[in-house]
Homo-oligomer: 254 residues x 2
């Protein structure tokens, strides 16, 4: 008898930003797989088993989930934010494609969530209010040259940029290099937003400009948004500024 796999985006971290659909899926599951800090957000009840793994083990975690489901279990694989955006959903699909034929018959149910850049954007105003891209700065799984090409293409065409995985202990220099590249393409006054743990008690959000942006303000849990040449900062007395990308757009940067 085949079970099922729910792949669940938990949202950015604030409990009331997790959808009721995600919560209902979690309530049905017997086994929970994910990176430890995401599993820490859940209150499991009796009969629900936690299987934490490290954050570089996505594919083996996906295979373990499919194995359990093939044995009849109802499994929840969790990601922060949205599981489809640099989360576990792609790892599950990859595991199904490369795995035994029986895994293709498993009911795989992917539940979307509020991905980090949306929460960071909402906190700052509407920096993603016009055309934008989401790029992972991790070169664990792609050559750094590909990332550079994408940064130049996207910024040059006038897209706002949201960076996931901007730095880690093993990758200290990538975000700084990305800022250098962008300084050749975008105005010095381009708004930059650092959003860390938005909605959680340890939230830190900072708004600056490209010429002032420093990579050492950042860690793994930070999402960085770099505006387009059209993105604006509206100062407000006694309130944080609003950063937004106008709905109408003119010409690309170059």
């Amino acid at each position: 008898m085949s079970g099922r796999v729910f792949v669940v985006g938990l949202g950015p971290g604030k409990p009331d930003q997790m959808t009721p659909e995600a919560r209902a899926a979690l309530a049905q599951a017997s086994d929970f797989l994910g990176y430890g800090p995401y599993l820490d957000r859940l209150e499991l009840s009796q009969g629900q088993t936690r299987h934490a793994s490290d954050n570089r083990e996505e594919l083996s975690r996906a295979r373990a989930a499919l194995d359990m489901a093939a044995a009849g279990r109802t499994v929840a694989v969790v990601s922060g934010g949205d599981a489809g955006v640099f989360g576990m959903a792609a790892a599950l699909c990859e595991a199904v494609e490369s795995g035994p034929a029986v895994w293709r018959a498993i009911d795989l149910h992917i539940i979307p969530g509020v991905t980090a850049m949306l929460a960071v954007a909402a906190r700052a105003g509407a920096p993603l209010g016009h055309d934008f891209c989401a790029i992972s700065l991790s070169d664990n799984l792609k050559p750094w040259e590909v990332i550079e090409t994408r940064l130049r293409a996207a910024a040059g065409a006038g897209l706002v940029l949201a960076f996931y995985n901007p730095v880690s202990r093993a990758r200290p220099w990538q975000l700084g290099r990305a800022f250098e590249i962008l300084r050749d393409i975008l105005p010095a006054s381009t708004p930059v937003i650092f959003g860390r743990a938005v909605g959680r008690p340890d939230e830190r959000t900072a708004i600056t400009t490209l010429d002032e942006a420093r990579a050492d303000q950042t860690d793994m849990a930070t999402c960085v948004i770099v505006g387009s040449p059209e993105t604006r900062i509206v100062e407000r007395d006694g309130l944080p500024p609003l950063v937004y990308s106008p709905r109408s757009a003119g010409r690309p940067a170059r």
Copy 2:
């Protein structure tokens, strides 16, 4: 006495994909502004007033909301999906910037939501599992040449593309032209997903390839996702195929 404005993303349409945070904000509001079909999703209680407007009146709607808040009302301005992604949040920021100074003191609270492309992606697998962009195909507010430049830059650099506002009665040809441009850049076998009203009773999701994709399968309520050269389709017996963009990526298309 100044009131406040909540700018609320209602999610893709399935009620249990709206966050509890959004629901709590709606419960506090006295006045509801938005495009009629979005307001239709809400059950207002006594004392809550509906102010529907057309879908080309974003800026005047934003100004009306700020006016009401300046008069002490608690106002909810609603968007489908996420208000920060081609939704009302940017219009509110624009109205604040261009409006009277008192509007800068109004408490503007933007509540993120699950934007359409995330729900469409979750239905299909994980097409947004790697670097991607979101582009509006509406040339109401930007020249069509800017859109063409962005399509070429993003597809050429290997980004997956999600299209918002792909067609309307007034803009029948843009999506077809976008497919033509992409056929010069991307393999004919590139997966294309049409997701309409995902999670609602009238949902229609279709998976095809770039050479087979036809613009007349689409309306305003459709989000279209075009893969990168790395995006894959995994066929499954008796289940819909899975479309995903692998976590690891190689080279740009050109």
